[in-house]
Symmetry: C2
């Protein structure tokens, strides 16, 4: 088994934190995204989508999606559960993870990819080239600000995003917030609950992954 990874990229970091929380070690192959290694024929043979992370199983099966990979490890090694332990908690964690991804992670990505000079023509990850849309970068920044405010409100009465237990929803939100630093957006001082939560999750050993 091996994980195609890129140590500096936020998307595979979600998997790395997930694995660190479970105490699972998987050999990694570093893919040099900065120099376009994802577009080489060699890597396109691994993942035609030209993205990381990709988990390759011993039978050759490849899972080319961060959450798909987490699902694999959650099903293979239950403890500690990071995606819920009954129908209700699984459903709530799934919903919260997707929300943090849509309103946080993807909003940051939109803002970054549609404004960074080095990403001209690369407004979306993947094999196809799309031109940057400046209005989308602007919208992305507005959405990130709302994401911070919404998270702050949610965390007012809770230790973690889905209650008393750390979950994959916290991982996505943490990675989204650190990703937002790339576009120079930080959690406002006024978001006390979010800051308290961030300090807690960012100081877990897994956050270094």
């Amino acid at each position: 088994m091996k994980l195609y990874d890129c140590a500096t990229a936020p998307s595979p970091r979600r998997v790395r934190i997930f694995l660190a929380e479970k105490g699972i070690v998987v050999p990694t192959v570093q893919v040099d995204l900065r120099n376009g290694e994802q577009f080489t024929p060699a890597f396109r043979a691994v993942n035609p989508d030209a993205t990381v992370p990709v988990l390759q199983l011993d039978d050759g099966t490849r899972i080319a999606d961060a959450i798909g990979i987490c699902v694999y490890f959650e099903a293979s090694q239950r403890d500690p559960p990071l995606m819920g332990n009954d129908a209700r908690s699984r459903a709530l964690i799934t919903a919260a993870q997707r929300r943090a991804e849509r309103d946080g992670f993807y909003a940051v990505m939109e803002a970054l990819r549609n404004a960074t000079p080095g990403l001209k023509g690369r407004a979306l990850p993947g094999p196809d080239d799309y031109e940057q849309i400046p209005a989308l970068a602007e919208r992305g920044r507005a959405r990130v600000a709302r994401f911070f405010a919404a998270l702050d409100e949610e965390l007012a009465g809770r230790e973690f995003l889905c209650g008393e237990r750390y979950s994959i929803a916290d991982i996505t939100a943490l990675v989204a917030i650190d990703f937002a630093k790339w576009i120079k957006l930080g959690v406002p001082e006024s978001c006390m609950h979010l800051r308290r939560w961030y300090d807690a999750v960012a100081s877990r050993p897994s956050a270094k992954a």
Copy 2:
């Protein structure tokens, strides 16, 4: 238990098909999206995000996300499995579902919401108003065309998106393709494999849900 639904909307249709495949019947409450019922204080008290579907459990818990709701029912009633039955198939189905959602369902939504006159100022679902971005509508249409071509290629050697078994990935792809009719994009004649698959999944009784 009850499901806040809108019989004409594609997002809750994913849940309705999922339930029909499992043979589960849940009482529904219809929310009149066309007349803005999702923005009323009464519905905002149910879901501050102002979207359907929402599943309300008997203990009052609300799950306000289509895939989160499917996870709930998959965990409550395993048969027939629509999200995989071991670590490998769960991971692959998760990845395929997310891909169909991102490249198909969301691309259609982008194209529709950024171009429809009646949706001015409503370029994203949810509580916040965002202006339409015409370039994003155009990009959405280009992405849908690529989605059709990619699906066609994938289905060349397979009965369903994840092999021999119908799954939630097929549901998302089917709903995305029907949703594309709203923006007048249909599967090209040349996409033989995709057309064969579409005929098969669209003629299952669940597709009427």
